[in-house]
Amino acid sequence: MLDSVPDALMLPATLKRGDRLADRVDSVVTFAEPLLGVDRRSGGRAWVRQQPHGRLFVTRDSADTIFFPRDHARSGQPRYRWETQTDGSQWGYLVNGATDVR
């Protein structure tokens, strides 16, 4: 199990709480930002994307992608090495060469 700060999270959509958009976003962000080491005072944010099959892909950059882009030599390969946690969430760590490729 890796113990460093992850670069991405794949969370179950059931994590969302509340009946308003702001509440649901807040519930996910509040959970994700400490895990991702987000520093709001310096302008950092956790960005939440709805993915199929009830999953939420969360990263510190809204331009991050799950896989290497279609126009990249590694198209289709994951940009993260995923570690499944005991609560069912997944923590992602960027693989070599994935840092500036989206």
């Binding site: 962000v29 994307r49 882009p69």
Partner: protein
């Protein structure tokens, strides 16, 4: 004050053309982000109602209407970048606003309209693509 159960007014609307400075879009009168889902229904044999509904197609898109015709017409159709906007809490309560970000947003069109003795408006539209074909280009966070 508790967060209201409504959102009102867009602020901080900006388009970030790739490689260029951000362009603020002000005097906004309407805004829209859409997940762009499209459903495909199947019926066969003696089915009266659909027996399968699938969502094989999602094309996120956005549009903003503003009185600033000049700025919107300054974007050339096909210009790629990122689009961001903030939808505020109806009572401006802290924590009630939501930030939208659309990565890989491609400006589609500017359509202006004006009537006699009325303010002219222009609606700009964007479509978004996913660079890996899997990641949703539309994301959210809180302010």
């Amino acid at each position: 004050m508790a967060i209201s159960k409504a959102q009102i007014n867009w602020t901080g609307v900006s388009f970030f053309p790739t490689g260029l400075s951000s362009v603020p879009i002000t005097r906004v009168t309407a805004g829209m982000f859409s997940a762009g889902g499209k459903l495909l229904k199947f019926k066969g044999d003696t089915d009266l109602y659909p027996t399968i509904i699938s969502c094989p197609d999602q094309e996120p898109n956005a549009s903003f209407t503003t009185a600033d015709v000049g700025t919107m017409f300054g974007f050339a159709p096909g210009t790629g970048g990122a689009l961001a906007a903030q939808l505020n809490d109806a009572k401006a309560v802290t924590g009630g606003a939501v930030l939208f970000a659309m990565a890989n947003a491609v400006f589609e069109n500017a359509s202006a309209t004006g009537q006699h003795a009325q303010f002219a408006t222009v609606t700009g539209t964007w479509q978004a693509y996913s660079s890996d074909g899997v990641t949703n280009p539309l994301s959210f966070t809180r302010v």
